[in-house]
Symmetry: C2
Subunit: 439 residues, 2 copies
């Protein structure tokens, strides 16, 4: 059969891993696909370093191994996109700028299959790329864009096709999970845990996207599209990070038999679907409560087949690269028969504030008699049933306590807090923290 010829754009941590696996496993991969899978060319600004780091023949690099200026690289890329000798292009440049956006569109329009690990691009500007792929009937592989090595994309696209997904919940950011695990096990502050994560290579120098929930949000956006057919912009998604989590919240978590985790959550119910990324109190008998460190885990509940859990490594060079190579083999096997689904989502996306969860609300107040009564009454007036009220922690003349509600909407909780602020402007010493509880 006709070989599948591959070009890789960007030979960094992930692209280099792909090149290495394609080279090392060339024979097996070709046998698996029943056709030769051949890496033809790599475009990289600094080929000498990449070639040494991943033990790759220098002849594979565009330009024969010399360093490239961005303009030179760009013209090599354009040549590859329009070359008749290339069937599939791997985009491992990353970023969301116009350059990488436009070249992704160009690849689709030139009818080359595209495999991408670029979650931020697909989440933030993916709609037109998906459309371009569909219009050209090329295969767009993005297994590597969601949770690295975990094959969640193909699991949803090819294995859960005989079912309806009810809910997705997951730990999809290893950095924030490492930090929360550290805070819990060693009782350190967020800042100390972040420092340790950076020191041990679990957080980058600029960890913003990891700790503010946006990296997890990107993954959830892609999964919401796959699972529920919903196209979400990042600003439609309710996203909260872990940067304001304090040590004492782990005590409250412990008190209610749960563990604090940054959770990606999406659920359909009665024709409506909603999604959120935020810290949640995960009950200790939910498997996600036990997922520690840099591991990722996804829990899916299906209508017919019930609960599923997938666990694996969410990042890393070869871990992510192996997912890209799986997309390449899949394209080699089936890309001539790409058929974009005609399924149209009938689900309506609703604001997460209208969705029903049990919540734990933590209040800081002055140490004044009547406070607990006033606050719990205000909560009751919003028709929220209260499950438990924690004991009051007194420090000097301040008190901290938490209220666990029965399932209600975030809007109800916010309305109760609004009312407290309005009627007793001095009662709350800081903004109460509202955290959903995940069973």
């Amino acid at each position: 059969m006709k070989p599948l010829h591959i070009a890789i754009l960007g030979c960094g941590t992930v692209g280099g891993g792909v090149a290495r696996i394609l080279t090392e496993m060339q024979e097996e991969l070709s046998a698996r696909a029943s056709r030769p899978i051949l890496l033809k060319e790599i475009v990289e600004l600094n080929p000498t370093y990449a070639s040494q780091r991943f033990n790759l023949p220098i002849e594979l690099f565009a330009g024969g191994g010399k360093d490239l200026t961005p303009d030179e690289a760009s013209s090599f890329i354009q040549r590859l996109i329009h070359s008749k000798d290339i069937d599939l292009i791997v985009e491992t440049i990353g970023g969301t700028n116009d350059f990488v956006y436009n070249l992704s569109l160009d690849i689709c329009k030139a009818k080359k299959h595209l495999v991408s690990a670029n979650k931020s691009l697909l989440a933030e500007r993916g709609k037109s790329i998906f459309e371009a792929a569909k219009n050209s009937n090329i295969m767009l592989g993005f297994e590597a864009a969601v949770c690295g090595a975990i094959p969640i994309v193909k699991t949803i696209k090819e294995s859960f096709t005989g079912d309806s997904i009810i809910s997705i919940s997951g730990i999809m950011n290893g950095t924030s999970n490492y930090i929360l695990s550290k805070m819990k096990s060693e009782g350190v502050s967020f800042k100390e845990a972040l420092k340790s994560a950076q020191k041990n290579g679990y957080a980058e120098a600029d960890p913003t996207l990891d700790i503010n929930g946006h990296d997890a949000g990107h993954k959830l956006i892609i999964l919401m599209k796959l699972a529920f057919g919903i196209d979400l912009a990042i600003d439609q998604l309710s996203v909260k990070g872990i940067e304001n989590i304090e040590k004492e919240e782990f005590d409250f978590a412990n008190e209610i038999g749960s563990t604090l985790k940054l959770i990606c959550y999406g659920k359909q119910i009665d024709g409506e679907v909603y999604a959120t990324v935020c810290p949640m109190m995960v009950k200790n008998d939910n498997f996600l409560s036990e997922v520690n460190g840099a591991t990722n885990a996804i829990r899916i509940v299906n209508k017919y087949s019930g609960k599923h859990i997938l666990v694996g490594t969410g990042a890393g060079s070869y871990e992510t690269a192996s997912s890209i190579v799986a997309d390449i083999v899949f394209a080699a096997r089936y890309a001539d028969q790409v058929n974009y689904t005609h399924e149209k989502s009938k689900l309506k996306f609703i604001d997460a504030r209208h969705f029903v969860f049990p919540y734990i609300i933590t209040f800081r107040t002055g140490d004044t008699p009547g406070t607990t009564g006033f606050i719990t009454t205000a909560i009751g007036q919003q028709k929220i049933n209260i499950d438990t009220v924690s004991h009051n922690r007194h420090i000097k003349n301040k008190a901290t306590f938490s209220v666990v509600t029965m399932p209600c909407t975030m809007k109800q909780v916010e309305d109760a807090i609004e009312k407290i602020k309005l009627e007793k402007p001095d009662m709350l010493l800081s903004e109460p923290k509202i955290i959903p509880i995940l069973y």
Copy 2:
């Protein structure tokens, strides 16, 4: 696009679930596959019961709804196999007899796609069925044959294609796992736990294949073929069940920080591959130790992408049926492009006795000074390093104790025991139990 026309043979627990999902989700499934997926006919001896149980139109049944004799059913089946109007046949009759074996071959030869949940047939007589499917270039789907709802077959076939599987370990039989969980949590005997499993619907009236490890063995045989390209006959596989597990073994497990589980295990190392099904002491930090009740779980270690875990429901009507429907959608999408892999396994299958594990060996002896010394010396003479020796449990004039070894082969252990028996024929009061320890 051309519709995909389906016939179902056998409308019991699983086949009925398939018919129900195909009927209920007809529109979504067709949209997902970009072509109509139509259930055309069901062959079932007792259509009235099946139609009521799964709420299916009686017209779907061959013969128009009347009860069929086996001969009538057989002739309806032959008609469907040779009908130009049928593209894919679902075999949910079950069993390994010649009738179902021959009809599976006939389906392949007639160039109908075949989707089967029949693990025992595929494990015991599958080789020629796989060959017939390959020769006719039809798609043979068997996702449902291994661990019900867990999409392990497609995960290996389509998602781990950019990697090499190093090892598979799993809990693949819900009945035996339920029994072991019960024995552990309630301290009851095997017999009592089995009774409870039968009472609660977790074990069948004849639970032989579940408790003797053969059901798990069937699944492992199919996975060994997928993961390592090895065709194993059931008598080549080392299989031990749970029927001889005693209460005290849970104490020994606890003492070494582990939990007793029936484990399916396969591993490749240095060009050799081996496999076994047996009770193992699973260390408590291995996720499999926490999998309780009827849940199935599979842990796979890959060369590039590291550890993966899949958890889900291993049995049940709709759970298994949803896996069959996923195979149908996959066939609707890609079956015109079936390409059997040309990959040939270079691995050599070796007897599990030659594979290296740490073991725990439990000895029952008379309460005689010098016994521990003699036994541990005999073990040392086989070049086995000892990790720990448990304290002796004395009951009247008998003693029970266990020895934990460093990694060694089962053959070394057996040789040591042989030597003890030879030199001190009266020392061992019963056959020592040898259980591998899984880290």
